[in-house]
């Protein structure tokens, strides 16, 4: 029963945070809301019994991909007005919304850790099954994903190298 309430709470947070992210004028503010939305989706993954997917969601989506966004936004904003903008970002009304939303998620997570036998110890699909399936019937897809990542690596290196050499 409680899982269902948690699900609706996390779903509401995900929807609100995504809608706010899409409507912010400032890219960094939007990014903070987007991270909250990804965290909420990770909580939903936990609730539906996919802890492995939840961990990957946090590590890769909210970690690696969002850090890429932050890097690029920071690279583009190298200017004199950087300091003023930095000070403007520190105002409480900017980070209060994301903090509030992620605090709700944190409370849910704390409750789930405290009652760990509820949702975490009986995953619907364990990481072992995923791994066996990934390197069993889906091994061709893994190879294709590897090729795709290699192509992405080469492509982004090519695009970024020319920026670093001739830009500025």
């Amino acid at each position: 029963m409680l899982e269902i309430i948690f699900f609706y709470l996390a779903a509401t947070i995900a929807l609100i945070a995504t809608a706010l992210a899409m409507t912010r004028a400032n890219a960094i503010h939007a990014l903070i809301y987007l991270i909250v939305s990804l965290l909420a989706v990770a909580v939903i993954f936990f609730l539906i019994g996919a802890p492995f997917a939840a961990a990957l969601e946090i590590v890769i989506y909210a970690g690696a991909i969002m850090v890429l966004f932050v890097f690029v936004i920071m690279m583009l904003n190298l200017g004199k007005e950087g300091d003023a903008r930095e000070r403007q970002w520190m105002q409480p009304r900017i980070w209060a919304g994301p903090v509030l939303l992620s605090l709700v998620l944190f409370a849910e997570l704390l409750y789930m850790i405290a009652n760990i036998e509820g949702s975490l110890s009986h995953p619907a699909v364990t990481a072992k099954e995923v791994g066996l399936s990934l390197f069993g019937p889906y091994v061709l897809a893994v190879e294709i994903a590897a090729m795709l990542l290699l192509a992405g690596l080469v492509g982004s290196y090519h695009l970024g190298r020319r920026y670093l050499e001739r830009g500025e």
Binding site: A19, A50, L56, L68, V72, L134, Y138, S156
Partner: protein, 104 residues
């Protein structure tokens, strides 16, 4: 079957709502960084639908596809952000409409 107490329709509804928000963002924003963010939201919504269906039927396939979506998103965002740097360098603006013509 036993792992999922939450109705599958509601998760799918959430996923489609997230997808629609992402598509709306894609259509109303002209800043290229926001366009990339909207693409991330849409990919994430699709991944949510896959994981929910996989959990509902107790099959690992949903999470396998989730992993593939994750790698697609990573590759897409790396190339996309490289393009953002190029657009910024060439047009001095992040507006997509400034990059609306091809050479030649």
């Amino acid at each position: 079957m036993d792992g999922l107490n939450i109705p599958l329709n509601h998760i799918l509804l959430l996923s489609s709502l997230l997808f629609c928000i992402g598509m709306l963002g894609l259509m109303i924003r002209r800043n290229i960084i926001f366009i990339l963010m909207s693409l991330e939201v849409m990919l994430n919504a699709a991944a949510l639908a896959f994981v929910a269906a996989g959990a509902y039927w107790g099959q690992p396939d949903g999470q396998v596809v989730f992993l593939l979506i994750l790698s697609v998103a990573a590759a897409e965002v790396a190339v996309g952000l490289g393009l953002v740097l190029q657009v910024q360098r060439r047009f001095k603006s992040l507006d997509m409409d400034s990059a609306n013509r091809m050479r030649g």
